[in-house]
Amino acid sequence: GAGVSQSPRYKVAKRGQDVALRCDPISGHVSLFWYQQALGQGPEFLTYFQNEAQLDKSGLPSDRFFAERPEGSVSTLKIQRTQQEDSAVYLCASSSLGGHTEAFFGQGTRLTVV
């Protein structure tokens, strides 16, 4: 596609509900990143994929967070039993190679847990 696409753009979840956030990276991009951006703060790294391999998940805040990229393209970030502190914008970024080529970001999914 022309850019990184994320869906949905907005999600309201009741506390305790499971949610799934989708990221469609730029076609052919090897690297995919998820970031969490709390209100008024900078993005914080969650996890990194190189093709289908999850090489770094050190930023996932708890075992309620799970990410996958089974075919090395589309990725899903799943949050189980959502809590209010999970409310944030979730940003996805992709780049053509692992390392230091430019990362292109999607517009994010704003998750609000009520």
């Binding site: 990143f33 970031y35 090489l55 940003l91 780049s95 390392g99 230091h100 970001f105 994010g108």
Partner: protein, 115 residues
């Protein structure tokens, strides 16, 4: 581990004027990259400018330029001839060469350009 600090929550500038955003970072790595990203209300992060730490020459992209002071671990962004479309959050970010491209962001500076 690395940290990125932006100490200016908000900066206001008049159209056509110049504004400078400050950023300091801390890293024990020798090889790293520094970035400035712009985030308008649409939320999409847009790369403004990038600097390789091993390059002494300051990066420039049209109206945007940086002042990279490696010894002081300082990386400021200068926006010249400010335009209304420059109104956005600006984030400084660092990336080490062994981090898969993972970015460490600062807290951001809101830039407001007024007519």
């Amino acid at each position: 581990a690395q940290t990125v600090t932006q100490s200016q929550p908000e900066m206001s500038v008049q159209e056509a004027e110049t504004v400078t955003l400050s950023c300091t970072y801390d890293t024990s790595e020798n090889n790293y990259y520094l970035f400035w990203y712009k985030q308008p209300p649409s939320r999409q992060m847009i790369l403004v400018i990038r600097q390789e730490a091993y390059k002494q020459q300051n990066a420039t992209e049209n109206r945007f330029s940086v002042n990279f002071q490696k010894a002081a671990k300082s990386f400021s962004l200068k926006i010249s001839d400010s335009q209304l479309g420059d109104t956005a959050m600006y984030f400084c970010a660092a990336q080490t060469t062994d981090s898969w491209g993972k970015l460490q962001f600062g807290a951001g500076t809101q830039v407001v350009v007024t007519p």
